[in-house]
C-alpha cells in the first residue's frame, strides 16, 4: 500500500531486524563502553559513605529535582516522601519514610547509590534518570526532609521576624514543627 520512499530499507530507533539473532536492529554496547560525553559524569560519582554533594545547590536545581522527584519517585515514595505513593496503595510494600533519623543521617552517597542501583524491592533507576538529575532529586529529597525537621532559629533573620509577627497577631503559627513520628499514617503526604 505504501510507496517505496515511505518504507526505506533502513532501521529506525527500536525497529525490529531479521539480521541479528536477537531480533533487534540496535546493538547493545560492548561491556564497559563509555558513552560519548558521559566522562564528565565521573565527578558526579560519590562513594556510598561520603556525604559530598558534587553540584552547586540553587533554586534551579531544586526545581529540577522537584519535577524529577514527582515523575520517578512519588509513585512509590509519595509526594512528600512518606512512603505512601499510589503504587503502594495498589499493593506495593511501603518504602521507608524519608522523615526518619536513619535516612536523615544517611550520607548523600548512600542515597545516590540507592537511586542508581536500587535497594530491596526498588530496582535501580540508572537507565531512567541521568546522574545530574539524580543529584537534583537528592537535593529536593533533602529539602523535603528539612521541611519537617527545621527549627525557627534556622530561618534567616528576616523570615524569622515575619514568623514572630504572625505569632503575635495570633494568625497561623507554623513555627515549631511537630515532632516527627515516622508514621506513614498521617495523611499529610498523600495528596496524589
Amino acid at each position: 500500500m505504501r510507496q517505496d520512499m515511505a518504507n526505506q530499507p533502513k532501521n529506525r530507533p527500536l525497529s525490529p531486524s531479521e539480521f541479528f539473532g536477537d531480533g533487534r536492529s540496535e546493538r547493545p554496547p560492548v561491556e564497559n563502553t563509555v558513552a560519548r560525553g558521559s566522562l564528565a559524569d565521573d565527578e558526579l560519582f560519590v562513594p556510598k559513605n561520603s556525604n559530598n554533594f558534587p553540584l552547586t545547590v540553587d533554586l534551579k536545581l531544586l526545581e529540577r529535582g522537584e519535577e524529577r522527584f514527582k515523575i520517578f519517585c512519588s509513585p512509590c515514595h509519595g509526594l512528600q516522601g512518606d512512603g505512601n505513593g499510589f503504587v503502594v496503595m495498589r499493593g506495593m510494600k511501603a518504602p521507608p519514610s524519608y522523615h526518619q533519623d536513619r535516612l536523615r543521617q544517611a550520607p548523600n552517597g548512600y542515597i545516590y547509590d540507592v537511586t542508581t542501583n536500587g535497594f530491596g524491592q526498588m530496582l535501580g533507576y540508572s537507565a531512567q534518570i541521568p546522574p545530574r538529575d539524580r543529584w537534583a532529586i537528592i537535593a529536593y529529597l533533602r529539602a523535603l526532609q528539612l521541611s519537617r525537621n527545621a527549627k525557627a532559629a534556622d530561618l534567616p533573620a528576616e523570615l524569622r521576624e515575619k514568623l514572630n509577627q504572625g505569632n503575635s497577631t495570633g494568625t497561623k503559627p507554623g513555627g515549631e514543627p511537630k515532632p516527627e513520628t515516622g508514621s506513614t499514617k498521617d495523611s499529610a503526604g498523600g495528596s496524589d
Partner: protein
C-alpha cells in the same frame, strides 16, 4: 443521402461526454477521500498489542507521568518505548502472578524484547523530533489525543502532512505554558490566540516561513 444517425443520438453523444467528465471527477474525489480516510491513515483504529497495556489505567487512573516510561521525549527525537525492566519496577511485585503479564515476565527472564505494535507511524522521509515540540510548548495530547482515556492506544489524528502544516502555519493555536505540556487534560483557554502568540515569542519560535520550509521536516 439518408442520415446514418437519428437526431436523438446528438443527446446521447453529449450525455456520454458530460458523464465521462463527471465520472472522472467522482473517481478523483473518491481517491482523495480514500487517501484521507481512516482506512489509509489508520486514524482511530485500535491496534492489538502483545500485552494489552492500558494507558487509561497507568496514566488516567494511576497518574504516572509520561516521562516515567518515555524517558527520551524531552531530549531526543524519539520518545522511546520503555525496556521491559521499566515494567518490572512495579510488576516484579504488583500482579506478579497474573497470567496476563506473563509475556512481560518472559521478556524480562529471557532478555527478548516485547514486540509492541507501532501505532504512530510516519513515512521514512519525515524527520520528526519529539524533543523540539516538547521544549517549545506543544503538549503530548495535542498530537496523541486523550491517551489517558485509551485502554488501547489508537492514533487520534490523521498524521497527514496537511495536519502537520495546520499547526506549523498557526502554532499559536496549540502552544502551552511549559508546565502544562504533560498535562493530558489541558484545554485551550478562551484567549488562546493571544496567549499562544506571546508564548511563541518567549520560546523564540521560528518564523512561519521557516516552520513550513520543506527541509524543516524533510531532508
Amino acid at each position: 443521402m439518408a442520415q446514418i444517425f437519428h437526431r436523438s443520438t446528438n443527446f446521447i453523444a453529449r450525455f456520454s461526454v458530460f458523464s465521462a467528465i463527471f465520472l472522472i471527477g467522482i473517481a478523483l474525489v473518491a481517491v482523495l477521500a480514500v487517501a484521507r480516510s481512516p482506512y489509509m491513515t489508520r486514524q482511530n483504529i485500535t491496534r492489538e498489542q502483545p500485552v494489552q497495556f492500558s494507558h487509561k489505567h497507568h496514566v488516567g487512573d494511576d497518574g504516572i507521568d509520561c516521562r516515567y516510561c518515555h524517558t527520551g521525549v524531552e531530549t531526543s527525537a524519539v520518545a522511546g518505548i520503555p525496556p521491559t525492566k521499566t515494567c518490572m519496577n512495579c510488576h516484579s511485585v504488583l500482579f506478579n502472578n497474573a497470567s496476563y503479564l506473563e509475556p512481560v515476565r518472559e521478556s524480562y527472564r529471557s532478555d527478548k524484547s516485547i514486540q509492541w505494535v507501532k501505532v504512530h507511524r510516519l513515512a521514512d522521509f519525515v524527520y520528526f523530533n519529539h524533543s523540539i515540540h516538547i521544549n517549545k510548548g506543544v503538549g503530548c495530547s495535542t498530537c496523541h489525543g486523550p491517551i489517558n482515556q485509551m485502554p488501547l492506544v489508537f492514533q487520534a489524528n490523521t498524521l497527514l502532512m496537511q495536519w502537520c502544516l495546520d499547526c506549523h502555519r498557526n502554532p499559536e493555536q496549540v502552544l502551552r505554558p511549559k508546565d502544562q505540556v504533560f498535562n493530558m487534560d489541558w484545554k485551550a483557554p478562551d484567549n488562546q490566540a493571544e496567549i499562544g502568540a506571546e508564548l511563541g515569542k518567549s520560546y523564540n519560535l521560528r518564523t512561519t516561513a521557516e516552520l513550513t520550509s520543506c527541509s524543516t521536516c524533510h531532508r
